[in-house]
Amino acid sequence: MYARRAAQLLQELSSCEEGQLPPYNGDKFDQVIRECEEHSRQFQSLIRDKDIETKNEDHYGSFIHHLSIIRNKRCLMAYMYKRAEVIQSYRWNVGRVLPREIQDKLNFSEQEYFKNYCGVIDSYMKDLDLDLTVDMIPPKDPYIRVRVLSEIGEVSLGDHAVSLTKDSFHFLRRTDAEPFISQGLMEEFVE
């Protein structure tokens, strides 16, 4: 009661590293909402048929319940907001497709949020005819040597098809290799 559970939710969130998320704690979230309903019931019972101006003991009790509801609301909103921010950063840092471990941590509605956010960014980039998710600093070399980590198969890059079998080395254009590197399927081969 009195926003202690909500504070625990936020503790969980803040104890993670920057840019990482803990799994969505739906149970605690629902418990906090039930607490709010309990506070609301108590509030209703205290102000029933009372004159609002008289500052008697019921008034202060109801005020405390009201403050608790406001506080719970603030905690839950901050929780959702922080998670939404991290999900947004995933689009820019990780890419369009999220790896399995990250997807497991997201709620269903958060996954929908991610899809919609990707859609918005893509339509914006299409209007500008500019890809904003690439590096700001142009690389020294347009080509890059890569080593394939897991089996991808036949991929057509530009005008020719490349067969990307496991542990094979290729000399590809950087823009072609980057989506695979961000998904973890390839790595840059540095001598």
């Binding site: 936020l10 003991e57 202060y60 109801s62 405390i64």
Partner: protein
């Protein structure tokens, strides 16, 4: 032939007398950090005079804004700022107070303070574990979370007693040796909490006390944070409060950027002038 050779050597010596450019840069950097300290100092002083203007969370961003012209690469502008949320939404676009969504502010307000109720309150028996009826009596002494105590104090329903972290024992500890006081584990939100508590409690000495504590601790922290290694966490970091830790991280990341800047475009080659041995002056 020998004379020519000697004169050549002398010329080489004089070119080596130029001051090392990196040494200059480092001393500039330390000067700037100490000017930041003075500006932070000024902000806490403001807090004392205006009685409650918040100076707590804003050390990093304000200090960065005051840096003005820099001779260092612009990567230093990407230092972490205390308020992790971009200024959008409720209450954060122009003011420097922590926003509605600021998690560290929310967690800070969860700290417990002891209050004395001036009025009774019905229906909130869970606040007081010792009560039988579902209400709190007038004159009861209870521990409330700060957000609740703050609001009730504004409406004069309770009065807040000063918590132990600003009491006599703490003052004695700080006077003995401020840098050794363990704020990290006991009171991680020491400064912010003090700034928020200050207008609600009658004690006027909390403001100067906070400033004095911060000033004494900053001296040691400044030198240690700039020389701290990247991987190992020095023991004194565990004693820092949250705001001090952000300053520490800012200093550490700026040293990393500085080191990167030193070797930019040179690969890993040392400049040849650094390899020259200084010949002793025979005259």
């Amino acid at each position: 032939m020998n004379m020519q050779f000697l004169s050549l050597k002398r010329k080489e010596k004089t070119t080596l007398q130029k001051p090392h450019p990196l040494g200059l840069g480092l001393s500039c950097f330390i000067l700037r950090s100490s000017s930041n300290f003075i500006s932070i100092h000024g902000r806490i002083g403001q807090g004392r005079e205006k009685g409650g203007k918040k100076a707590g969370t804003d050390f990093g961003t304000q200090a960065l804004k005051r840096r003005g012209k820099r001779s260092f690469p612009s990567q230093i502008t990407s230092l972490p700022s205390p308020n992790p949320y971009p200024p959008t939404g409720i209450g954060a676009s122009t003011c420097t107070m922590p926003g509605y969504y600021d998690i560290s502010d929310i967690l800070m307000e969860d700290e417990a303070v002891s209050v004395v109720f001036h009025v009774g309150a019905n229906g909130v028996g869970l606040l007081d574990p010792g009560t039988e009826t579902n209400s709190v009596e007038k004159g009861a002494k209870i521990d409330l979370p700060f957000w609740l105590a703050h609001e009730l104090c504004r409406r004069r329903a309770v009065s807040i007693t000063i918590p132990s972290c600003f009491g006599q024992k703490m003052k004695k500890d700080v006077q003995a040796d401020a840098a050794c006081v363990d704020l990290g584990t006991r009171y991680p939100y020491f400064y912010e909490f003090g700034c928020k508590l200050f207008p609600l409690v009658g004690d006027k000495s909390i403001g100067p006390f906070l400033r004095h504590t911060f000033a004494s601790r900053y001296k040691e922290m400044l030198s240690k944070s700039h020389t701290a290694s990247l991987n190992a966490i020095p023991k004194f970091v565990l004693r820092l409060s949250k705001e001090e830790y952000q300053l520490f991280e800012a200093a550490r990341s700026s040293m990393v950027e500085f080191k990167k800047w030193r070797v930019r475009d040179l690969g890993l080659m040392k400049a040849t002038i650094l390899g020259h041995k200084r010949k002793t002056d025979l005259h």
